[in-house]
């Protein structure tokens, strides 16, 4: 046994960092085609955030200022949560159905697969965010000082972050039940600490410290910057860069969980 030559376990020189445009768009197209056969999911993804905003608007019927604050934050939080859920379940299904194993035995790069997913869900996130933002601004009278485009930009980055987190946690879920349970585990603490309920500086110092390293804090902060300022502030740029950086980092971590060889 000790003299065994290890030939086949030598990691093959994988072509890293190269994204093949054809394979990436084919993957994105395939993911969207799968969703098209599931119109109920699309409807839920797009309609539920809008209904929540309408609900919120009339919950705070007497205090429009509160609606402005919470509404803007939620425009950033909805895409994150929806994309997190959809991606974690979709990639979990890919892992358990054997299609991932088959794809990784084919000449598909991990980056192609992840970029394909990000592209498909990103497109969906644009539709969702555009509808929710439009509804909030022009129908529900959300009072925003800055540009609606900036709101959309933050919403899109949040969606990407949700996709990245979903992809990552799907590696640790053995079933759909577990994947759904990751939502309270990963998203709820961020929701409580992101400054939606009370300013982060008012929290216990330990919690403030924790919220400083959670990406959703910056997503919500970015939305609030647009809410209160006409121009792009330095804080806004920082927030956007942090959310984008986190999304990229988690996507890379997610790529590392895709293994060509499994036990």
């Amino acid at each position: 046994m000790s003299t065994t030559t290890i030939t086949s376990t030598t990691p093959a020189p994988a072509p890293t960092g190269v994204i093949n445009a054809g394979r990436t768009t084919a993957t994105a197209g395939r993911v969207l085609r799968q969703l098209r056969h599931d119109p109920r999911t699309i409807a839920l993804m797009i309609v539920v955030p809008c209904v929540m905003l309408i609900l919120l608007r009339y919950v705070f019927d007497a205090s429009p200022r509160t609606f402005d604050n919470i509404g803007a934050s939620l425009l950033g939080i909805f895409p994150l949560i929806t994309m997190f859920l959809v991606t974690s379940i979709a990639t979990l299904r890919e892992r358990t159905s054997g299609t991932l194993e088959r794809l990784l035995a084919m000449p598909l790069g991990k980056a192609d697969l992840i970029a394909g997913y990000a592209l498909a869900f990103g497109a969906l996130a644009i539709v969702q965010s555009a509808l929710a933002t439009g509804l909030a601004l022009w129908v529900l009278g959300l009072d925003v000082t800055g540009s609606a485009w900036l709101l959309l930009l933050v919403a899109l980055l949040d969606a990407l972050l949700g996709t990245a987190l979903g992809l990552f946690v799907s590696a640790f879920a053995a079933s759909e039940f577990q994947a759904v349970q990751f939502m309270p585990a990963v998203i709820f603490p961020q929701l409580l600490l992101c400054g939606l309920f009370t300013p982060r500086s008012d929290m216990h110092p330990v919690l403030t410290g924790i919220s400083d390293v959670l990406p959703m804090s910056y997503a919500v902060d970015g939305m609030n910057q647009v809410l209160h300022h006409t121009d792009m502030t330095a804080t806004f740029v920082r927030d956007v860069l942090i959310v984008a950086g986190c999304a990229l980092l988690v996507l890379v971590l997610g790529a590392a969980t895709l293994r060509r060889r499994t036990a």
Partner: protein, 266 residues
């Protein structure tokens, strides 16, 4: 341990698969024990043995998706799992690995785009997809969702994916399970046709012994070891049995008898 196993005779350069001292560990269990064998090119080789004997693990090792593989395993002249092999091997897993929420044609179009990407190849891809659907006799179901098909039909969609891109090596894990006799016969004819006309190598696993008669060569497996590596005729002659099943049972008894005195050396 190695001293008991004679070195294999030098294989001709035409061998599609060449394993030497191949061992695979899954969790606490050693699933494959020091396998040494070769599979010739351009033939249909059957991998037969009872459920749980390590057939699927061996196939996963060959296509490069199995972790913790020790020993030498050369596939089409490369170490197993080499990136150059990814477009040259067609692999069908035991349970169909296709997207249930896509139609048969959409499934194949996607996998075809992975093998042969780009807009310029669209026409060629369309041809390959149509050919693969015809090969597995699913033309009338091309626009049905894979999830709405029967188990046998989904198996055939999975097989069609493996046929895309005319691979040189087809690794098929129990492709005929749950199919009616007519379809089984048709698929075996297709396998032989692929070997004869395209010169492809096929490794087909089964736990149904009567399928063994349809193979050029057989690898008989039991409990992670290879009992025999021969043609069906030679096996029957050697063991004096009428069928491959009888030959298999004979070999199991023989191995059990031989294992008893050897047990202490392990």
């Amino acid at each position: 341990m190695m001293n008991y196993v004679p070195d294999p005779p030098p294989q001709p350069a035409t061998a599609a698969l060449q394993a030497h001292d191949l061992t695979v560990v899954r969790g606490p269990r050693t699933v494959l024990h020091h396998l040494t064998f070769a599979v010739p090119r351009g033939q249909v080789t059957g991998l037969l043995g009872p459920s749980g004997c390590g057939k699927s693990t061996l196939m996963r090792s060959i296509v490069g998706t199995q972790a913790k593989v020790n020993g030498t395993l050369q596939v089409l002249g490369h170490p197993a799992g080499h990136p150059a092999l990814r477009s040259r091997i067609g692999y069908v897993t035991q349970s169909p690995s296709v997207f249930d929420d896509l139609t048969v044609r959409q499934n194949l179009e996607y996998f075809a785009a992975i093998l042969d990407p780009g807009r310029a190849a669209a026409e060629r891809r369309h041809e390959h997809v149509t050919q693969a659907i015809t090969d597995v006799d699913l033309t009338s179901h091309a626009d049905a969702l894979a999830g709405n098909l029967s188990g046998g039909q989904r198996n055939r969609v999975s097989l069609a994916v493996a046929l895309l891109g005319a691979p040189e090596l087809l690794v098929l894990d129990e492709p005929t399970v749950g199919l009616d006799p007519v379809l089984r016969r048709d698929l075996w004819n297709l396998f032989h046709d692929i070997a004869a006309t395209r010169g492809a190598t096929l490794l087909v696993s089964s736990h149904v012994m009567d399928e063994a008669e349809r193979c050029h060569r057989l690898l008989l497996m039991r409990e992670g070891e290879i009992l025999a590596d021969d043609s069906p005729d030679a096996l029957r002659t050697r063991t004096g049995g009428d069928t491959v099943e009888a030959a298999f049972l004979h070999l199991v008894d023989e191995a059990a008898a031989a294992a008893r005195p050897k047990e202490s050396t392990r």
